[in-house]
């Protein structure tokens, strides 16, 4: 096998924020435009350092808001530059209308989000309310669970975004604080050009060029608009395979891969837990205790929220008696209010699979989730399952009366 391009790795202690910055450098990004916001700020600070000391040849655009950050990113990507931005929480909300424009123009921008709760009341701490609000913007959403995975995912994100079958922007999310500010050992490439064959610079999307003028962002009247949205539907569908291929190829070349869903022990489990982000670590630890007592528990972590891996989730559900979904965001005003739980339920309905899906809301505004919580949730679900109780609404775990 002519694989591994002799990448020399160095092992560094990095927070996920710094791992992201390192990945931006190693992706040879051309333009970065960003506005500081907790807990993302150190991503762009570190990128600034890379640019200042000559390790990354890129243009850093200092903007006056996240709205401008995304606008500048759209402009840069529209002339064919490899573009990056990072944000969180209110910053992501301020970008929101531009998120639709970036995807609608089919620009392969990559953005990292240190997932954080949304104000008011003000919380600078972690949950996934901001990321879940991106759901309907036609951005691809990857959720990493370690600093290493975040590093690898940003590099993969460029391969996904710039694939002609996709041409959509990609968001790489990870837990604000719990990951953004926690140091882990991360293997990063010794040399910055290690990925240049994996993500060659060859803009194939429509770009603005005076030599060959085109119009981007023109108006589409009712008889035209719908078809452009359907193009995005198809691109999203294609993205599922492209994400998988990008990960497989990365694994082949660099010997690290993650899949679309990380799973263990789902075969013949009584109850399979499903979650995303850093919480998966806590879950793994906690389940060890229960397994020692002989409990049949499966674990699954969704690494891709958009496009949603419905079929894979249905397969996992089919192997278990019930699913427990731990969501770190609330979609208000509906009985099952965990965003991922809802997706799973509709995936199962589409496949005609009858399984109890128990939706739990946890870790809102970084309310700590401990091993005790996981074990108590497990006991609660076992009880409900034994009495054939169908869940009528999400359980807001640990909320005080």
């Amino acid at each position: 096998m002519e694989s591994v391009l002799k990448v020399t790795w160095k092992r560094l202690p990095l927070s996920t924020n710094f791992a992201i910055a390192q990945a931006v450098k190693d992706s040879d990004v051309d333009v970065v435009s960003a506005y500081p916001i907790t807990p993302q700020t150190t991503v762009v600070e570190r990128i600034s350092e890379f640019i200042a000391n000559g390790e990354l040849k890129a243009e850093m655009i200092h903007v006056e808001s996240e709205h401008s950050a995304m606008s500048a990113a759209i402009g840069a990507s529209a002339v064919g530059a490899r573009t990056f931005t990072a944000t969180a929480a209110q910053g992501l909300e301020l970008m929101h209308e531009l998120l639709h424009i970036a995807s609608g123009l089919r620009l392969p921008i990559v953005m990292s989000v240190a997932a954080r709760a949304l104000s008011a009341p003000l919380s600078i701490w972690g949950d996934y309310s901001d990321v879940m609000n991106v759901r309907d913007t036609s951005w691809i959403i990857i959720i990493a669970s370690t600093a290493q995975e975040a590093y690898d995912s940003v590099i993969q994100a460029y391969r996904i975004a710039e694939d002609p079958r996709v041409f959509l922007p990609v968001l790489v999310a990870y837990d604000g604080y719990a990951m953004s500010h926690t140091y882990e050992p991360v293997y990063v490439s010794e040399k910055s050009d290690a990925f240049k064959d994996y993500i060659p610079k060859n803009p194939r999307w429509y770009t603005l060029n005076p030599e060959k003028p085109i119009t981007m962002g023109a108006m589409a009247s009712p008889e035209w608009f719908y078809e452009f949205k359907y193009q995005q539907v198809v691109a999203m569908k294609n993205a599922l395979d492209v994400v998988k291929e990008a990960d497989d190829e990365y694994g082949k070349r660099y010997e690290r891969k993650y899949g679309i869903i990380e799973e263990e022990g789902v075969e013949g489990s009584d109850i399979t837990f499903v979650t995303y982000g850093g919480l998966y670590g806590t879950l793994k630890e906690s389940i060890e205790e229960l397994r020692k007592k002989g409990e049949q528990i499966g674990l699954a972590r969704i690494r891709l929220f958009r496009p949603f891996p419905s079929e894979m989730l249905a397969d996992i559900a089919e192997k278990a008696k019930a699913l427990v979904v731990l969501d770190r965001a609330i979609t208000f005003g509906v009985n099952i209010s965990g965003p991922v739980a809802r997706e799973i339920i509709s995936s199962l309905y589409a496949r005609g699979i009858e399984r109890n899906v128990y939706s739990f809301i946890v870790g809102i505004g970084q309310r700590t989730v401990t091993e005790k919580d996981i074990i108590a949730i497990y006991e609660k679900v076992k009880e409900m399952l034994a009495s054939h109780e169908r869940q009528k609404e999400s359980i807001y775990w640990g909320v005080r009366e």
Binding site: L105, Y206, I214, G217, W224, Q231, V234
Partner: protein, 107 residues
């Protein structure tokens, strides 16, 4: 008024990009109108203010001499191209001699 062939999603450039410049003349915006400007050739002084302000532009200078009822001679006429006139009314507003009528479109 000719209508563009409505292409399917596979045939259309991604994201609504328009790949050839100068194709706005293929976009007939005349059906946006609810009111239409009508130039009164006898009142019109050919100052071409309408021609300047028309954002489309849908005011055409026609190579046709015209003699008004009062005997004034002009070497050219001014007309509205209704394929493109959106009916914004700017010409009507700006016309100094009030030589443009503003008429409701019929169904």
């Amino acid at each position: 008024m000719t209508q563009e062939k409505l292409l399917g999603w596979k045939e259309l450039p991604l994201g609504g990009a328009i790949l050839e410049p100068g194709n706005s003349e293929r976009r007939y915006t005349g059906d946006w109108r609810t009111f239409k400007p009508v130039i009164l050739q006898d009142k019109c002084t050919r100052c071409l203010r309408c021609w300047i302000v028309c954002p489309e532009p849908a005011i055409y200078i026609i190579d046709e001499p015209y003699t008004t009822k009062s005997g004034r001679q002009f070497k050219f006429s001014v007309e509205v191209n209704y394929d493109y006139c959106k009916g914004c009314g700017m010409c009507v507003e700006e016309c100094e001699p009030k030589a443009i009528d503003w008429i409701e479109e019929e169904k």
